[in-house]
């Protein structure tokens, strides 16, 4: 202010209050950031927050599908119902087996495919395109496709295996729980390995090239280079990919439901919860099962968020 008094010719008139307010409205980035955010936040509150709260609330009531409005508060009794139901624990076990085996296999195959895709060779584009196809096939469609391929009499899987001499006679894959589970895992691996491979490939491409040059100078064998250099460097990517896929596998519904229905031997947690909700029409205990699934997966989500946190900081 003092400077402007000594040079009255250059004095800038103080903008009026209205004008300043107007400028603030027009140019404040933080204000606009919140204005732009508002629709998303409101939408999420309505389409995600409200239903999630609803599930929590219903899990403490005796609501049924036909009498949603007359629900009475019943405390934790739905949780004791679910937790003392052997079928729930079978579903938990099925989900764990499914998730551990399929995510394990996907990581292994995904890593292999990523390594192949990371090298340059004629036909690389073709391979990448081919690998994307299973990802693009809708889950329901892949479930139907494989159900047909696993058909005991007319299925191409049995046909090929018998032709190759692996099997002596056709197997009814989808007739008993253990082979059905194997088939489900097989289909899930087929469908989601591409995603895993792409994630790991992204990690591989971030490894600087000169690291390999140095390894070459040290005359390390390729296998040794892989285990002592590549693997440690892409470990963070792999662990993120594994958790990301585990979150998906733990909530699996469509594949199991379409290929195996609600059979006890293969029902996963989500299948169990939906069966209680829609088929037994018990909204209370079904919601309790849903909340339990939410908590289990929430546990993994926290782990995932914690893992990607460093990359948040740098941005």
């Amino acid at each position: 202010m003092q400077a402007t008094e000594s040079t009255p010719l250059l004095a800038i008139p103080e903008p009026g209050l209205m004008k300043r307010f107007w400028n603030f409205l027009l140019y404040s980035r933080v204000l606009w950031a919140w204005v732009f955010l508002a629709p998303t936040l409101i939408a999420l509150l309505v389409v995600a927050g409200r239903p999630l709260f609803g599930t929590f609330w219903l899990s403490f009531t005796d609501a049924s599908l036909l009498a949603l409005d007359e629900a009475q508060f019943v405390g934790f009794s739905n949780y004791t119902t679910v937790l003392s139901d052997p079928d729930w624990w079978t579903a938990v076990w099925n989900t764990v087996v499914f998730s551990v085996v399929s995510v394990g296999l996907e990581t292994l195959f995904g890593l292999g495919i990523a390594l192949v895709l990371n090298s340059t060779f004629p036909g690389r584009g073709l391979l990448r395109a081919a690998v994307l196809i299973p990802w693009a096939v809708p889950t329901v469609v892949s479930a139907k496709m494989w159900t047909w391929m696993f058909n005991d009499i007319y299925g191409v899987v049995n046909h090929i295996l018998v032709l190759l001499g692996v099997l002596e006679q056709p197997v009814a894959w989808l007739a008993n729980p253990s082979t059905t589970m194997a088939a489900l895992i097989f289909v899930d691996v087929w469908k989601t390995t591409p995603f895993m491979a792409l994630l790991i490939l992204a990690g591989l491409q971030m490894v600087p090239k000169d690291v390999y040059e140095a390894a070459k100078l040290d005359c390390d064998s390729r296998l040794k280079t892989f285990f002592s250099i590549t693997l440690p460097l892409i470990k963070p990517t792999i662990s993120i990919a594994v958790i990301f896929r585990s979150l998906d596998a733990l909530r699996i519904f469509d594949l199991v439901y379409v290929m195996a229905g609600t059979t006890k031997g293969t029902a996963t947690m989500s299948v169990y919860a939906r069966q209680r909700l829609m088929e037994f029409q018990e909204f209370g205990s079904g919601s309790a099962a849903s909340v339990l699934i939410f908590l289990i997966i929430g546990f993994f989500t926290v782990g995932y968020l914690w893992l990607i946190r460093p990359s948040q900081r740098e941005s």
Binding site: R29, V30, A33, F36, L37, T40, L41, L44, V47, P51, F53, T55, F56, L58, G112, I113, V116, G123, L127, A129, A130, P134, A136, V137, P138, T139, V140, V141, S142, K144, M145, W148, M149, Y154, V156, H159, W190, F195, L198, A202, G203, T237, A241, F244, L247, L250, F253, S270, A273, L277, F283, G286, S290, V291, I293, I297, T301, L305, Q312, S315
Partner: protein, 275 residues
């Protein structure tokens, strides 16, 4: 490649991977072109390819209706979530403010919700809003599925755009609204297209909500319609029809994915890894 042997092994592996990835879809196409008793002969190439399954499929009104439903619901979901997400992803990618990290984490964790966790609450809400068994109801709950994902992927793309443009726009006296409209929208067009495609695929493939929140066959989307295609008895599934429907539903996606490979890969991986 050091020697010939390694090269042979390498290409053998590549061939096995390609076969493994492509064969099931190829087999679906082959099956869909067979009809009558040839359906039950295992032949790698159809001897008398015929389009009968497709013709029969498209003469069913309910299947066409399901296709239309899927297009409407997925399209609406994508348009709505792109509009909402474009605004917020601009804020999240380009403006620093208190609480941004918290909002980001919230959005990411919503995108990881198990769908089953909102199923009963959503059922209650949809019934309350009188949207049960309607396409509007499906669009409504698909927002829960697609919106967080859209914001996250779009933000990843916007963040990667160069800062200089923005600075120049600020120097020119461009306010945030004008900046979004005049500077970012044109630049983000490819990103919007890719994100829209990924969102469309997610909505198109959705099964659990579509199964639970529709009742009559005229409101079904294609995944539910395919899951429920049945023949005269439980043991006599119309495999020819099921495979033809599968091909109809999948072929556009496969083609789109093959055309936009590069963008899809970058969208997918940035959505999941880079944060």
């Amino acid at each position: 490649m050091k020697n010939r042997f390694e090269k042979v092994v390498f290409y053998a592996i590549v061939t096995v991977i390609i076969f493994y990835a492509v064969f099931p879809f190829y087999w679906a196409i082959v099956t869909s072109l067979k009809s009558g008793s040839s359906l039950f002969n295992v032949q790698l190439f159809p001897t008398n390819p015929s389009l009968r399954n497709y013709i029969e499929l498209f003469s069913e009104e309910s299947f066409i209706q399901s296709l239309v439903n899927s297009v409407v619901v997925s399209g609406l979901t994508v348009i709505l979530s792109l509009i909402i997400a474009l605004l917020s992803s601009f804020s999240l990618a380009r403006v620093r403010f208190r609480g941004r990290a918290l909002i980001l984490m919230t959005i990411l964790s919503v995108s990881m919700f198990p769908q089953i966790a909102v199923l009963s609450g959503m059922f209650e809400l949809i019934r309350y809003l009188n949207l049960y068994n309607s396409l509007a109801g499906l669009t409504f709950c698909y927002l829960c599925l697609v919106l967080p994902f859209t914001v996250w992927v779009l933000r990843g793309f916007l963040q990667a755009l160069p800062k200089e443009l923005e600075e120049a726009a600020i120097l020119d006296g461009c306010g945030p609204l004008k900046m979004l409209w005049k500077v970012f929208l044109p630049l983000a067009k490819p990103a919007i297209a890719t994100t829209g495609l990924l969102a469309f695929i997610a909505a198109w493939n959705e099964f659990l909500f579509a199964l639970t929140f529709t009742l009559s066959s005229d409101k079904r989307t294609v995944p539910v319609a395919i899951a429920m295609l049945s023949g005269s008895s439980q043991y006599e599934l119309p495999w020819g029809h099921i495979m033809a429907a599968s091909v109809v539903v999948t072929l556009p996606l496969v083609l789109l994915v093959l055309i936009c490979q590069r963008q899809i890969v970058s969208g997918l991986t940035s959505g999941a890894v880079k944060g």
